[in-house]
Symmetry: C2
Subunit: 295 residues, 2 copies
Amino acid sequence: MSAQILDGRATANSIRERIREESEELARSKTPPGLAVVLVGDDPASATYVRSKERACRKVGIQGFQHRLPADTGESEVLQLVRKLNRDPAVHGILVQLPLPGHIDADVVTHAIDPDKDVDGLHPVNLGRLVADQPGFVPCTPLGIVTLLQEYGISTAGQHVVVVGRSLLVGKTLANLMLTRGSRGNATVTVCHSRTPDLTKHTRQADILVAAIGAVGMIDGEMVRDGAVVIDVGINRVDDPEAKRGYRLVGDVEFDSVNPKAKAITPVPGGVGPMTVAMLLQNTICAARQASTRW
Amino acid sequence: MSAQILDGRATANSIRERIREESEELARSKTPPGLAVVLVGDDPASATYVRSKERACRKVGIQGFQHRLPADTGESEVLQLVRKLNRDPAVHGILVQLPLPGHIDADVVTHAIDPDKDVDGLHPVNLGRLVADQPGFVPCTPLGIVTLLQEYGISTAGQHVVVVGRSLLVGKTLANLMLTRGSRGNATVTVCHSRTPDLTKHTRQADILVAAIGAVGMIDGEMVRDGAVVIDVGINRVDDPEAKRGYRLVGDVEFDSVNPKAKAITPVPGGVGPMTVAMLLQNTICAARQASTRW
C-alpha cells in the first residue's frame, strides 16, 4: 500500500492556466494586473524565492515591478517605496520579501502596505479579517493547502486537523482558516508546537496532519495513524554532493515511513511549495479585479 | 472531593482596586480615563450589560460617556458618532454594544473605531495583532480567562487546552491568545465546535477545558477527565419562579457532576463574567495611559 500523491505542481499548473486567462481578460479591460516585489539585501535564498515568483508572474501575464534595494537601505526609504507603491494604480499587489535586514522592523513595513494590496495576507487587518471570518487576503501557504485539499475532493468539515508548528505564515493562520465556516473550514483543529509534550499522542489522532516545523523528517510513520492525509509544508535543504546544486530539498515528513500508512500525502518538492506561489498569483488577480471595479 | 473554586468576582475586585488607583493617578496627571459606551436600540439584555459596565466604570473612577440611540438610527449616524468619539481626546475607549439592530452592519461600525480606542479588541487590526503576537487590545473575555488562570498560578505552558466553541468573542480569540509565546500562552490548543464529531473524545483529553458554547449544562462529568481545570464561559438564563427576577444564570458546565472530578472550576455566576468587565476597565486604562504619553 502507498498513499495517493497530492500533486501540488500539477494542481498549481492548472490554476496558473486559469489565472493566465483571467490576466488576459483584465489586460483587455485596461487593468493589466501588476505585482511589485521588494527585495532588500542579498540573502541568496530570498533572491531565489523572488526570482521564482517573478518568473511565475511573467508566465501568467502579471506585470512584475522589481525593486532591489541594497542591504544598508534605511527603514524610512523602504517605507517611502511602499507608500509610493500603495499609490501606484498599476500595482495591485505588493510583496516585501522577508526576512528583512536586522535594522528594519518588518512589522512596521508590513503594516505600511495598503491592506487592499497586501497579497501576502500578513497585514494585521487581513489577519484580523481571517480570524473574524470576513473577506480579505489569506496568506498564500495556508490558502494553498486548503485549495489543494479541495482540488482532490478532501473535505475538512468535521475532520480533526492537527497542525504541528505555530508560525504566523503557516501554523496559526492555517488553524484560523480551517476553523472558519464554509467549505474550506469547519474542521476541529489542534495546534501543536515545540512546547507540546508527547507530540505523537496528538499527531496519531489526526485525520489530516499538517507538518510545518522546519525540521528534516521530524514526522515519521510511528506518528501517523493509518489512513491519515499528510500535508508536508517543510522545505529543508540537505547537503547532497550528487545533486547539481550540492543540496536537495526535503520536507518535515519522513516520506518513506509515512507513505505506506497515509491515505494521501504531499511530496517535497512538488507539493505545497508550487501551491503557495500559485496563490500569490491568485491573490494578485483578485486585487486587480477589485481595483478594476473600483475605478 | 470537590474542585477549587476560581473566584472571578474576588479576583476582579482586586484588579478593580488596582485600576482605581491607576485611574486616580491618570486623573492627577490631567488624563482622567474615559470610556464611551454606545447602545443602539432597547434590547433588554444589552441594556443590562451596558448599565453594569457603566456602573463598573464609575466605581473605579473611569468617566463614562453614554450614548443611547433609538433602534431606528441609521448606520451613517452611528458611524458619524463613532468618528466623533475617535477624535474626542477625553474618550480613550469606545465600546459599541453588540448586537446592533439588523439594518446596521456591525462589521462596518467595528471597523470604524480607532484601533487605539478599540478596548473591546474586535477591530481587525487588533485581532490581527493577536494572531501575529504583536501588542494590541485583546478581547475582554479571553483576556479575563488567562488573567484568572494566572492569578491562581495555573500555567498554560505545555498544557493541552480544549476550547469548545469557535465564536470570535471567545473561542477563536482565546485559542490564538493561548498559542502566543510567553506566560499566558504556549499551550497546545484544540478548538471544537458544533461540527465536531465525538466531542467527548476531545474534552476528556483536556488539561484545561473551556466551555464557550451557550448551551445549558452541555459539559457534564463524563466529558471531563480527573484533575482537569474547567472554565465555564456560558451565561445562560433559565426560568426560575423562585428567583427574584424570575430566572437564574447557569453556565455551559453541569457544575454538580463536574465539580467532583475537576481540580479547579469557575462558577456561574461569579467566574468569567466579572473578569470580562474588569478587563474592559483595564483595557480602557491602557488606552488612557498610551494617550497620556502621546500628547
